[in-house]
């Protein structure tokens, strides 16, 4: 028989199962840990896939445009010219304009409205609508309403809805609700970072009625094309060339379409989560598996020696322990992945709910299941290989003697002896225990630090998010109502508002989307003009001090400033995003400084300056309005009064903003709760694992102490001391790593419009430490019970 051919492998297989059963709770703990890791990975990654699939379904079925241009107005013939561009499969032209929706008696009596003309009686070739209820339009006075807005404002089929465009009103009967690929994330433009399902409504109306209402005749304002795959940018460039003479406002390929772009950015957080946290879990699983199998190998030294003496080869022993690692890993990973599938459906539904999406596709992703099992296999292999190789390399005589020198060089050991000599003898046991097997201590520290890392990172995410919301809602904006005007004449409207009962202060605002060009880069942002003397918007400049708007200057979001590589004083070309050769509206402003708000991504300038220099020239593409402060209790009456005025396009209260933020952050809170739970479980598993190793590996030693006259409490106290020391070491390592990872995570979640600050106030460290020490205390109690109930007669004879 060849030395490396395992004889009677089936018996070795039985030994694997028996050894795993012997590990008992520890094996169960490992299986649970692997299961949690797989569940988290499958759950998060699959929910990311589910959302991508769901969105992909809407984009595919809705025949989402690959390239689009928006113009002031262009002849219909331009569509045929667009169809002639190489690689264009089909093209449509349509009229679309922004205005207001009047809806007396509904939660928002006025809302921003976008009115889009679609063919009557037949579906659009591009940017089709996915009806969720009702039917498509047949008559000129019928409309299909975007379903998120409909849901937020309690619309039912058959309801009448009133649109206002430049003081001209039209009324439509709602015959259907639909999901549109263009408005899955309901925002009017890329510069608006928060979804606005309740205050931004899209109304799909008869094409001819739209042209007549907008005064366009046979002209159109948008061209959308479907292209051959991979030719989107090329087509867009040519399309822009065609559209330029007609007042090109903007053009984008599908991935840059405002709704899709913001939705993709929103999903990035989920994608990061789906990799970041499972990796921590699987890393911890590697450590625990390593420590458990090392323990088995240590306990079976004489068995290993005997097996080798009997003729089992190195490869057979290596295979045995590797197989055991894989068995434990897959035993946890398989049910974990299946549970993860269920979790993914729940998470995707919760996510979709937070955006009022009605379409959620949750197929079983076999690739993710495969990846999950492969990851578990790798985890098992990584955790088992070390102990397996150690077992395989043991010389039979050494193994059968069963005596292993404590690791660490003798010189270091002697120094440790000296260093701990000042302690009472009993206390030297736990302190030296830390150095008894350095590898075990390192593993324990790694496990505990992993749990602490997850906990601190999750707490950090929560704190940073809540701080960002608090900053946006309470610290910087002391505005009770934001009012958007429907007509020009801001001075008169503001004067009228300031005369209304309950009003304390009114300050003008103006905003428009702009393109910024520096010597090194280009970016888009919403530019807002505010009055220098106002006190409702208290924005702190990066580096301290209040942001004060000055003529000829612009304050930039810090991240955008970094991207444009500009410093205070540098010139910046500021143009309305719709500026074209025909309408080269723009001017040069100097960078005043940077602002560091977490939510928003808005640039600020001087009200008069922005108004006269930019906004007046591009009206109605700019928005005039005011910030209003009022006495408590006057918000609601003021809002209703303003919403009934034809001069007002939209009224937005602080509560609306809060609800909008909360709705959007709902899914984030769920994630945080899930992750905190998982972090606590990981810490618990680590500590439980360390504790059980401390107790089980040293049962004879501890039983001997009890036989010598130490009480169960004192003996358990000595064991617990070591555990507390390990926990402290784990925190010393885990807290800085957690702080660093938190910063990395927050950074990875940042976009131009959302830049969370990585905040970790002292209480987050204290809470993490309290959680870890609390778990140690809990586990130590169990240890005390174990030692109290120990059969001393048996335990003093155990061979360790």
């Amino acid at each position: 028989m060849s030395g490396n051919v395992p004889p009677r492998v089936p018996m070795l297989a039985r030994k694997i199962v028996a050894d795993t059963r012997y590990l008992g709770r520890r094996a169960l703990g490992l299986v649970v840990l692997m299961g949690l890791g797989s569940m988290l990975f499958t759950g998060l990654y699959q929910s990311y896939q589910n959302l991508t699939t769901s969105y992909g379904y809407v984009y595919r079925v809705g025949r989402f445009a690959d390239a689009s241009v928006l113009v002031d107005s262009a002849p219909e013939g331009l569509v045929r010219a667009a169809e002639g561009i190489p690689h264009v499969l089909s093209a449509i032209g349509r009229p679309a304009r922004d205005g207001a929706i009047k809806q007396p008696g509904r939660p928002h009596e006025r809302a921003m409205g976008r009115f889009i003309g679609v063919p009557r009686g037949r579906r659009p070739k591009i940017n089709d609508l996915l009806l969720t209820e009702g039917r498509y339009i047949r008559g000129v006075d019928e409309a299909v309403l975007e379903q998120q807005f409909a849901q937020a404002n309690d619309y039912e089929l058959g309801d009448r809805i009133q649109g206002v465009y430049r003081a001209t009103e039209r009324e439509f009967t709602i015959v259907g609700f639909a999901t549109s690929p263009e408005y899955l994330y309901p925002v009017p433009s890329e510069e608006m970072s928060l979804a606005m399902p309740g205050t931004f409504g899209v109304l799909f109306i008869d094409d001819d009625r739209a042209r007549e209402w907008f005064g366009l005749g046979r002209r159109i304002t948008e061209i959308h094309c479907r292209t051959d795959p991979g030719h989107q940018r090329e087509v867009l460039a040519k399309l822009k060339g065609l559209a330029n003479p007609y007042g090109l406002q903007t053009g984008y390929i599908q991935d840059d379409q405002p709704s899709k772009k913001l939705l993709t950015m929103d999903q990035q957080g989920l994608a990061t989560l789906s990799v970041f946290f499972p990796v921590l879990f699987l890393g911890a699983s590697v450590l625990f598996l390593y420590s458990s199998l090392s323990r088995i190998v240590r306990m079976q030294l004489s068995v290993i020696g005997t097996l080798k003496a009997l003729g089992f080869g190195n490869r057979a022993l290596l295979a045995q322990y590797v197989a055991q690692g894989l068995l434990i890993s897959w035993a946890g990973a398989l049910p974990g992945a299946l549970l993860g599938h269920g979790l993914s459906i729940l998470l995707a539904e919760a996510y979709a709910d937070s955006l009022n999406l009605s379409i959620v596709k949750a197929p079983f992703h076999w690739d993710t299941l495969g990846a999950s099992l492969a990851l578990a296999g790798l985890t098992g292999l990584a955790g088992a290989l070390g102990p397996a190789r150690a077992a395989a390399r043991l010389r039979p005589a050494v193994a059968m003697r069963g005596d292993v020198e404590p690791d660490g060089p003798r010189g270091r050991r002697n120094r440790l002896m000296e260093a701990t000599r000042c302690l009472p003898v009993a206390y030297r046991i736990p302190v030296r225990g830390l150095f008894r097997r350095v590898s075990r201590t390192l593993l324990a520290v790694a496990g505990i630090s992993g749990g602490a890392t997850i906990t601190l990172t999750t707490l950090g995410m929560g704190v940073s998010t809540l701080d960002a919301i608090d900053e946006a809602l309470n610290r910087t904006r002391l505005v009770e109502l934001d009012v958007g005007y429907a007509t020009l004449g801001p001075g008169a409207i503001a004067t009228a508002i300031s005369g209304l009962p309950g009003t304390r202060a009114v300050s003008h605002t103006v905003s428009l989307p702009v393109r910024l060009r520096s010597a090194s880069g280009e970016g888009k942002v919403l530019l807002m003009g505010v009055e220098p003397g106002q006190d409702m918007l208290r924005i702190t400049a990066a580096g301290g001090g209040r942001m004060v708007p000055r003529k000829g200057q612009i304050w930039l979001p810090r991240r955008l400033g970094e991207r444009l590589a500009v410093d205070p004083g540098d010139p910046l070309r500021v143009q309305w995003t719709g500026a074209s050769r025909r309408r080269p509206d723009g001017r040069t402003l100097r960078v005043a400084g940077f602002i560091d708000l977490a939510i928003g991504g808005v640039a600020y300038g001087h009200y008069e300056d922005i108004r006269r220099g930019l906004a007046d020239r591009v009206y109605p593409y700019s928005s005039y309005g005011s910030m209003v402060d009022c006495v408590p209790g006057a918000v609601s009456p003021l809002r209703h009064r303003l919403e009934r005025s034809d001069d007002v396009a939209i009224v937005y209260t602080r509560r609306d903003f809060q609800q909008q933020v909360n709705q959007q952050m709902g899914i984030f809170y769920i994630f945080m709760a899930v992750l905190l739970g998982f972090g606590a479980v990981l810490s618990g598993c680590a500590i439980q694992s360390v504790a059980s190793v401390s107790l089980l590996e040293r049962t004879r030693e501890l039983a001997t102490l009890r036989s010598l006259g130490f009480s169960a409490r004192a003996t358990a106290g000595l064991a617990a001391l070591e555990l507390y020391a390990l926990a402290a070491l784990g925190l010393v390592v885990g807290l800085p790593i957690g702080a660093h990872l938190n910063a990395l995570y927050i950074q990875s979640y940042s976009t131009d419009t959302m830049t969370f600050h990585p905040l970790l106030p002292p209480w987050t460290y204290v809470t993490t430490a309290a959680l870890v020490f609390g778990l140690v205390a809990w586990v130590s109690r169990a240890g005390r019970r174990y030692l109290r109930d120990l059969d001393l007669a048996q335990a003093t004879k155990i061979r360790e």
Partner: protein, 240 residues
């Protein structure tokens, strides 16, 4: 300190002592109504084949286990009905253990292993003396892993002796040692008995070691089958 063999009273008195273990569905009777009187200050050898109940009797005597039935009085302490705290106190003050596998704390040196118990009973100064008495003054700062089996067992004896127990319980103390080292360890134990009024109760299945005892108790199937003076006692009591 009394002269060897002159200590008065009983070190151990067992009356109708039963110990039953449940092993699955089977109840094993390790001790079956043992009656035994061991006088104090003697070196008692407990002999018997495997499974005869000798280790069980030793464990009961040391308060490591509790009898199923009967009474057991060790050095004036009635063990029946003692709670855990009382048993701990009993083990701390009355009995000393020497284990077959030495059971030293691996991270403490030889001296520290002895001081561990010395501090527990307030005799810290005595630790080095005892270690010297077992001939290990030169190895005081060695870890157990740096000592031979015989040296480790001598440390274990020093650890047991440092609290001056009235009853020293040794369970196969030579089981892990070669014959020569084993003999030296037993001699050491025997000498310690001679120098104090301590009683030694040593379990062994080695008939050769029975010759070291003042008293030999033979067990078979959980019952005491013979109590006899050992050669050592006979030698001591022989006329000069």
């Amino acid at each position: 300190m009394s002269a060897p063999g002159t200590a008065t009273g009983s070190a151990l008195t067992a009356r109708g002592l039963w110990k039953r273990y449940a092993m699955g569905d089977v109840v094993v009777e390790a001790l079956r109504g043992v009656h035994l009187d061991l006088p104090a200050g003697r070196f008692v050898v407990l002999l018997g084949p495997s499974g005869s109940g000798k280790t069980t009797l030793l464990n009961l005597a040391g308060g490591l286990d509790v009898p199923s039935e009967g009474s057991l009085c060790v050095c004036g302490h009635e063990l029946h009905g003692m709670n855990e705290a009382q048993l701990t106190e009993f083990r701390r003050t009355t009995v000393g253990f020497v284990f077959q596998l030495f059971n030293l704390v691996p991270t403490l040196t030889a001296l520290e292993n002895v001081r561990l118990v010395a501090q527990l009973v307030g005799r810290d100064d005595y630790a080095r003396t005892v270690l010297e008495a077992v001939g290990l003054a030169g190895q005081a700062h060695h870890l157990p892993s740096q000592l031979s089996g015989g040296e480790q067992q001598r440390v274990a004896i020093a650890r047991a002796l440092v609290k001056q127990p009235r009853l020293l319980l040794a369970d196969e103390p030579t089981g892990a040692l070669d014959a020569e080292t084993g003999r030296r360890v037993i001699s050491l134990l025997w000498e310690q008995t001679r120098e104090s009024d301590m009683t030694v109760l040593m379990v062994t299945h080695n008939e050769d070691l029975a010759g070291m005892g003042d008293l030999v108790v033979r067990l078979r199937s959980g019952e005491v089958v013979e109590v006899s003076d050992g050669p050592a006692a006979r030698l001591r009591e022989a006329p000069p």
